[in-house]
C-alpha cells in the first residue's frame, strides 16, 4: 500500500481540475466531487498508515531535473510522521468538505470554493509526502496559494483582498528565509533529501555554524507559515476567508505546516543548540504574546485566530525543548479541537450573521448541538483533565521543564491560564446571558453538525493515544519504538489543572456571573488595554518602518529612474544630436575646412599607425 502513497494527494488534485473545468455546470454537485475525492484520499491515507504499521519507511524518487551531473529528484516517502500527518490532514479536510456543503450553500461560486479546497488539500498532502526539502518548498508555497485563494474568496470585499495579499506576502517573507536556507544547505550537502542532510549533520560535513544558520533560516519559513511572532499578523486577518477555510487551513493543517517542517528536519535542529533555543524562545514568546491579545478581541474568529497562534507557539516551544513527540501530539489534538471550535464558531456565525461577540449571547438554548460541542472544544483547549488538550499540553509543559528552561516553563503556564480565560470569556459571552441580537438563530443543518460531532468525539478521544496512564502509543509510533517517556514531576499536571480551572473561574466571575465588572482591566490599565486591543501595534510598527522604508526606497528609485536614468537617455540622445549638429555645422561649404579635417584624420591614423605598428590592442 505504501508504494501507492502518491495517489493520496492525487484525488484532491483531480477534484480541483474537474471542478475548475466543469464546476460551473455541476453547481451543487461540485460538493460531492470534493467530498468523494477527499474520502478516497482519506481511505488511501489510512491504507498507507496501515501499511506503515506493518512495515518500515518507504521512499521512491524520480528524476525531476538534471543540472550537469547533479540530479534533483521528486518522489514521496512514507515515514511514521508522514503517515500520521496524512491521516490527520485528509480526515480534517474531509470533514471540512462535508461541513462546507451546508455552510457555503447558496454561494455563487460554490464550485470554485470546492475547487480551491481540493487544490489546498492536494498541496497539503503533497507537502506531507515530500521526501526532500525542494519538494517540500514547492508544496509549501502551493499550500500558501490555496490559503491565499481561499482568504480572498470573497474577492469583492476590500478587506478580503487586503487580507489575502497580506497573507501571501507575509508568508513569502518567511518563505524566502526557507529558500535561502534550503539552497545554502544544498551546496553543503549536495542534496535536498532529508536523509542526506541528516547524514551530513551526523558525520560533521555540515559545520556547526552552517547548521545553526540554515536551521534558523528554515525556521523563518516556519515562522511565516505558522504565524509565529513576528510574522504572525497575517493570520488574524486571514479570518476574512470563509469559516470552514479558517478551520481547515488556518487552524488544523496549513499553519501546522511550520511545526511539521521543523519536526521533519528535527535532526538538523537537534544538532544546533542555538537553533533549538531560538525555536523554543520564539514559541514561548508567541504563546504568551498571542494569548494576551486574545483576551480583548471581540471578533469570535479573531479570538480563535490568536488562540491558534498561541497554540502553535506551544508546539514550537515543545520542539525547541526537544520534545518532538509532544509537538506532534499537540498538533494532532489541536487540529481536532481547533477545527471543532472554528466549525462551531462558523455554525454560530451562520446562525446570527455576525462575528462580533458583543452582539451574541444566550445561544445555549438556540443551538443545542453547537453550544455543547463548543464547550467540549473550549474545555479541551483549556487543558481541563480528561480532555485531549490536557494531555498534550501537559506533555509540552513537562518537556519545557525537563529541558531546564524554567522561564519558558512559567511562560507557558501563564499562557495556559490566559488560554482558559479567554476561551471561556468567549464561551460565556456567546452562549450565556441574554441575547443581544435580533432575529432567529437556528441550529445548522446536519451536514454541518455531523462533522462537528465527530470532531467533538476526537477532541476528547485523541488525548488517549499518548497518556501517562495507558501508554505512549503515539510516541512509540513516531520513534519506531525507541521512545522512552521521561517521567515529569507529578506536580506539573496539578499546576496545569489548577491554572486552567482558575482561568475558567475568572472568566465565569467576569462574564458568567458578573461579580467582577467587565471593565475591571480596561479601567485599571487603559494603556495596557489599548495596547492589547491594537495587537501591540505590531501592524502599525510594520506600517511605519518596513512598509515606509520600502516605499521610500521605491519612491527614491522612481526619481532616480525618472531623472538620473532618463538623464542618461537624454545624454545619449543629446550627444548624438549634438554630434549631428556639430557635423552639420562642419558642412560650411569651405573646401579648405574639409581638406583640413581630412588631413587631420589622416594624420591621426598615420600617427596611430606609427606608434602601434599597425595593431591596436
Amino acid at each position: 500500500m505504501m508504494n501507492l502513497a502518491w495517489v493520496v494527494p492525487l484525488f484532491p488534485l483531480c477534484s480541483f481540475a474537474l471542478l475548475l473545468l466543469f464546476g460551473r455546470k455541476w453547481k451543487k454537485a461540485s460538493a460531492y466531487v470534493g467530498i468523494v475525492a477527499t474520502l478516497l484520499s482519506l481511505l488511501a491515507a489510512l491504507g498507507v498508515l496501515a501499511g506503515r504499521l506493518g512495515g518500515t519507511t518507504y521512499e521512491a524518487n524520480w528524476t525531476w531535473m538534471q543540472i550537469g551531473d547533479v540530479t534533483l529528484t521528486a518522489g514521496f516517502s512514507v515515514t511514521a510522521l508522514n503517515a500520521w500527518m496524512l491521516v490527520v490532514v485528509a480526515f480534517v479536510s474531509w470533514l471540512v468538505h462535508i461541513y462546507s456543503q451546508g455552510y457555503m450553500a447558496g454561494d455563487e461560486r460554490f464550485s470554485t470554493f470546492y475547487a480551491y479546497l481540493g487544490l489546498f488539500t492536494f498541496a497539503m498532502l503533497g507537502l506531507v509526502l515530500s521526501p526532500n526539502l525542494l519538494q517540500a518548498y514547492i508544496f509549501w508555497e502551493l499550500v500558501g496559494l490555496g490559503s491565499f485563494l481561499l482568504i480572498g474568496f470573497y474577492f469583492y470585499k476590500e478587506e478580503a483582498k487586503a487580507a489575502a495579499k497580506k497573507a501571501f506576502i507575509m508568508t513569502r517573507i518567511g518563505d524566502v528565509g526557507f529558500f535561502i536556507g534550503m539552497l545554502l544547505l544544498f551546496w553543503q550537502t549536495k542534496s535536498f533529501d532529508y536523509d542526506d542532510i541528516f547524514r551530513a549533520v551526523g558525520d560533521g560535513t555540515l559545520s556547526p555554524g552552517m547548521t545553526t544558520l540554515t536551521a534558523i533560516l528554515i525556521f523563518i519559513g516556519a515562522i511565516g507559515k505558522s504565524g509565529q511572532f513576528p510574522l504572525h499578523t497575517w493570520l488574524p486577518d486571514a479570518m476574512e476567508g470563509p469559516t470552514p477555510v479558517s478551520a481547515l487551513i488556518h487552524a488544523a493543517t496549513m499553519v501546522a505546516a511550520g511545526v511539521y517542517l521543523v519536526a521533519a528536519l528535527f535532526p538538523l535542529y537537534e544538532a544546533s543548540e542555538a537553533a533549538m533555543m531560538t525555536v523554543a524562545v520564539i514559541g514561548g514568546v508567541t504563546a504568551i504574546f498571542a494569548a494576551t491579545i486574545g483576551l480583548v478581541q471581540t471578533d469570535i474568529k479573531r479570538v480563535l485566530a490568536y488562540s491558534t497562534i498561541s497554540q502553535l507557539g506551544y508546539m514550537m516551544l515543545a520542539l525547541g525543548s526537544g520534545s518532538y513527540v509532544a509537538a506532534i501530539f499537540h498538533l494532532t489534538t489541536h487540529a481536532f479541537f481547533k477545527a471543532l471550535l472554528f466549525l462551531a464558531a462558523g455554525s454560530v456565525i451562520h446562525a446570527v450573521h455576525t462575528q462580533n461577540i458583543e452582539e451574541m449571547g444566550g445561544l445555549w438554548r438556540r443551538l443545542p448541538w453547537t453550544a455543547p460541542l463548543f464547550l467540549v472544544g473550549a474545555l479541551s483547549i483549556s487543558g481541563v483533565p480528561l480532555f485531549a488538550g490536557f494531555f498534550s499540553k501537559d506533555e509540552i509543559l513537562a518537556a519545557a521543564w525537563l529541558n531546564g528552561s524554567v522561564e519558558l516553563f512559567w511562560l507557558a503556564v501563564a499562557a495556559a491560564l490566559l488560554t482558559s480565560f479567554y476561551m471561556f470569556r468567549l464561551f460565556f459571552l456567546v452562549f450565556t446571558g441574554e441575547a443581544r441580537h435580533d432575529g432567529d438563530a437556528h441550529e445548522a443543518p446536519m451536514s454541518m453538525v455531523g462533522p462537528m460531532v465527530v470532531l467533538g468525539v476526537l477532541s476528547v478521544a485523541s488525548g488517549y493515544i499518548q497518556t501517562p496512564w495507558f501508554g505512549s502509543f503515539l510516541g512509540e509510533w513516531l520513534t519506531d519504538g525507541a521512545y522512552h517517556h521521561e517521567a515529569a514531576p507529578g506536580w506539573i499536571a496539578v499546576v496545569a489543572t489548577i491554572v486552567s480551572l482558575v482561568g475558567i473561574l475568572l472568566a465565569w466571575l467576569m462574564y458568567g456571573k458578573r461579580t467582577v465588572p467587565r471593565d475591571w482591566l480596561s479601567a485599571r490599565a487603559p494603556h495596557g488595554y489599548e495596547l492589547l486591543r491594537r495587537h501591540y501595534y505590531v501592524d502599525d510598527f510594520y506600517r511605519w518602518t518596513v512598509v515606509a522604508l520600502v516605499s521610500f526606497i521605491s519612491r527614491l528609485l522612481a526619481y532616480v529612474d525618472r531623472y538620473l536614468v532618463e538623464g542618461i537617455v537624454r545624454l545619449v540622445t543629446g550627444t548624438v544630436s549634438a554630434a549631428a549638429s556639430a557635423g552639420s555645422r562642419g558642412q560650411n561649404g569651405q573646401a579648405q575646412t574639409y581638406g583640413a579635417v581630412t588631413v587631420a584624420g589622416l594624420a591621426i591614423l598615420v600617427v596611430i599607425f606609427a606608434l602601434t605598428g599597425g595593431y591596436w590592442l
Binding site: S584, G589, Q590
Partner: protein, 101 residues
C-alpha cells in the same frame, strides 16, 4: 647622398604645399601649392628610380606622366578659376561656399 635625404626634402616640400593649400585664401596660390605637392611626389619618384630597391628609369617615366597630368590639372584648374571669377567677381577660396548645409 642617401635616399632618406631626398625623401625628407620631398616631405618638407609636400608639407609646405599641403599647409598652403589648406590655408591660403587666394585660389591661384592654392593651385600653386598643389603643384608644389605634386613636385614633391615627383622628387620621390626620381629618387627611388636611383636609390630604390629596383633602380631603373621607370621612376622617371612615372614622373613624366605626373608632370603631364599636373599640367592638365593646372590648365583645368585655372579655367575653372576664371569661370568662378566671372560669376562671383572674386578669387577667394572661402567665398566659394554655396555647397553647404
Amino acid at each position: 647622398m642617401t635616399l632618406s635625404a631626398y625623401l625628407a626634402l620631398a616631405l618638407i616640400l609636400f608639407c609646405i604645399g599641403l599647409y598652403g593649400a589648406l590655408t591660403k585664401r587666394n585660389t591661384v596660390i592654392v593651385l600653386i601649392c598643389i603643384e608644389l605637392m605634386l613636385n614633391a611626389v615627383n622628387i620621390n619618384f626620381v629618387a627611388f628610380a636611383k636609390y630604390g630597391a629596383h633602380p631603373g628609369v621607370h621612376g622617371h617615366v612615372f614622373a613624366l606622366f605626373a608632370i603631364a597630368i599636373a599640367a592638365a590639372e593646372a590648365a583645368v584648374g585655372l579655367a575653372a578659376l576664371i569661370a568662378f571669377y566671372r560669376n562671383r567677381k572674386t578669387v577667394q577660396v572661402d567665398e566659394a561656399n554655396s555647397l553647404k548645409h
